[in-house]
């Protein structure tokens, strides 16, 4: 491949990273799921323990590689491996969580290098079930942090909505570095 663009998906356990990549990928995903023994943290049956991998083949010579990393802090070594390679980060947050602002703080701090590059888009999932406005809480927290980035309400199962997130991230990446991916 002549050109490849690495997009990282991060966020707390259960936010929908694996689902989001599956929605976008045009190849069968590579997953690394294990049985979740920490049901106190989240009730889901399985959890990603290494990475998810999917891709969008743009042409014979250009591909977007989609990597999802585990959400738990004990796997942060995986975050470092991929952060260095990624051009942008899609941060997914779960609207059902007890403190979405704390999750936002946590991941923006952990991925500060990507934040500094101005290449982060935030997606809030499970909003219909939650019935509360996670998007407003996130915007308020970003104002307090003096940071500006897109925040969307998304359904990780929806390919159309995930394309909007990815497109927005690519716009920001290209604005920051017009040479990146130039024609």
């Amino acid at each position: 491949m002549d050109r490849e663009h690495v997009i990282l998906f991060a966020g707390p356990m259960g936010a929908g990273k694996t689902t989001a990549i599956a929605s976008l990928s045009d190849i069968p995903m590579v997953t690394t799921e294990a049985i979740n023994n920490d049901t106190d943290a989240h009730r889901k049956a399985t959890t990603t323990v290494a990475m998810d991998y999917g891709q969008i083949t743009m042409s014979d010579c250009e591909v977007v590689r989609l990597y999802g990393v585990p959400g738990q802090d004990r796997f942060d070594f995986m975050w470092r491996i991929f952060e260095a390679r990624a051009v942008g980060l899609i941060l997914l947050l779960d609207a059902n969580t007890t403190d979405i602002a704390a999750d936002l703080d946590h991941f923006l701090d952990k991925f500060r290098e990507l934040v500094a590059r101005g290449a982060v888009v935030i997606g809030i999932t499970q909003t219909d079930a939650a019935g509360i406005s996670g998007i407003e809480l996130c915007h308020a927290r970003l104002r307090e942090r003096h940071q500006f980035m897109p925040v969307f309400e998304v359904d990780a199962r929806s390919r159309d909505q995930m394309i909007v997130m990815l497109s927005s991230l690519v716009v920001m990446v290209q604005m920051r570095d017009p040479q990146l991916g130039a024609a």
Binding site: T32, E33, A34, I35, N37, V49, R74
Partner: protein, 138 residues
């Protein structure tokens, strides 16, 4: 996928495994550390001489095995039995515990004194022993 037994919920099981790992480390030439972990990266029991964090080692062990499983699955080689990481001054061997009741991996590190074959054999022996304890306990 297995999952009927939570190895971290049984203190008796954890104690048995701790003792077994201590024996593995002291009695097998070249073995320096051993750590039994869950599939999702939690420590069950460990015998560590290095100052490495057991919790980080547990997470890395599960990740390595998961990636090994991804590759063997991709290449249709069936289950991943073990992963070997060959460092400059030592080797890490990760073997799957062949249990129907729980997902577990055993990570064993060895220095230059040990042979990979010998360490792999010992690790697999202990993995089978652990499986027998799980079957008895579950």
């Amino acid at each position: 996928m297995a999952g009927k037994f939570n190895p971290r919920a049984s203190k008796v099981f954890q104690a048995m495994c701790s003792e077994a790992l201590r024996q593995l480390v002291t009695e097998t030439p070249g073995v320096e550390d051993a750590c039994l972990v869950t599939g999702d990266g939690f420590e069950i029991a460990s015998a560590l001489n290095k100052s490495a964090s057991a919790s980080r080692l547990a997470a890395m062990t599960s990740s390595m095995h998961a990636l090994g499983s991804a590759i063997t699955g991709e290449l249709k080689l069936k289950e991943c039995k073990s992963v070997i990481v060959d460092g400059e001054i030592g080797t890490i061997v990760v073997v799957r515990v062949p249990s129907r009741h729980a997902e577990m991996m055993l990570a064993v590190t060895c220095g230059k004194r040990g042979t990979i074959g010998g360490v792999l054999f010992a690790a697999r022996q202990h993995a089978r022993w652990i499986d027998e304890r799980v079957t008895a306990t579950a």
